[in-house]
């Protein structure tokens, strides 16, 4: 057996060993099916694709299990309550992103204080403190706009507040 085929088989065997009961049958089916693939490279691609499929399937299972509780809770709420929860989660997520960005800046400037006055430090400040969080806000707003609009509005609100903050900052310079 060629090393490529051994690698492919090893990969699918590991997937089979670690897959949960509901995916075990599928993982076994994928492993057996590989014996009927003639080319070693095709077998390796097959194994990689199957690994991805089982991994995604496990992710779906976990989401279903943990999401059930949240869905039950949400089902008991009225429309206004659902929107409020969505909006507040949007604000919370956006504030979390902003706090993480500020945390990175704080740690960076604590360890390398000279960077605060250096022009590289200013670019770092702009990139990590403004550009990256704002990009995340815009992308998240666009992605969530159709399916989770209240959450998208929450994120947009935090983005707008930070734009205003930025405008005031530049106006005072």
């Amino acid at each position: 057996m060629s090393p490529l085929r051994q690698l492919a088989q090893g990969l699918l065997r590991a997937v089979l060993r670690h897959s949960c009961t509901e995916n075990e049958e599928w993982a076994r089916a994928m492993l057996v099916e590989m014996d009927f693939i003639e080319s070693d490279w095709a077998a390796l691609w097959w194994a990689l694709g199957c690994t991805t499929a089982i991994w995604r399937q496990s992710g779906r299972g976990l989401r279903r299990r943990f999401g059930k509780h949240a869905i039950h809770k949400e089902a008991g709420m009225n429309e206004g309550g659902k929107k409020a929860v969505g909006f507040l989660s949007g604000v919370g997520v956006a504030l979390g992103v902003a706090a993480a960005a500020l945390g990175v800046l704080f740690v960076m400037f604590s360890y390398f204080p000279f960077m605060q006055d250096h022009h590289v430090g200013q670019w770092f400040h702009f990139g990590v403190g403004i550009f990256i969080p704002e990009t995340i806000f815009i992308v998240a707003t666009i992605a969530l706009w159709r399916k989770r609009r209240p959450m998208a509005i929450g994120i947009l609100l935090v983005a707008a507040v930070s734009w205003v903050h930025l405008a005031i900052h530049f106006a005072h310079r």
């Binding site: 089916a29 994928m30 057996v32 099916e33 199957c50 499929a53 089982i54």
Partner: protein, 102 residues
């Protein structure tokens, strides 16, 4: 019964509809549809979860492990025929619109 009708799902449904009574192997479906295993199996798993697909293990021959087999259920055949028709109508409509515009 709900399943997202992506072009890949339609390909799989189409492959099953060619001979709905026959059991099929995963690798054969992959070759006939041109879908990679990472795309094909999530579709098969979802179809089986929604009871559109029945699965079975082949009787094993000497020295060979049994293979997994797939076939549409009666409900699956009905769903596949219905949606293949809808998809075909949609394609015809867009083709005629393009013809009218051109």
């Amino acid at each position: 019964m709900k399943i997202r009708l992506s072009p890949q799902t339609l390909l799989v449904l189409d492959a099953f509809l060619r001979s709905p009574a026959d059991w099929k192997y995963g690798y054969d479906i992959s070759r006939n549809t041109g879908l990679k295993s990472g795309t094909l199996y999530p579709i098969l798993i979802r179809m089986a979860e929604r009871e559109m697909l029945e699965t079975s293990w082949e009787n094993s021959e000497e020295g060979r492990p049994p293979r997994h087999l797939y076939r549409l259920t009666a409900e699956g055949v009905r769903f596949a025929r219905e949606h293949r028709l809808t998809a075909a109508k949609g394609m015809l409509r867009s083709a005629s619109l393009e013809g009218a515009e051109g």
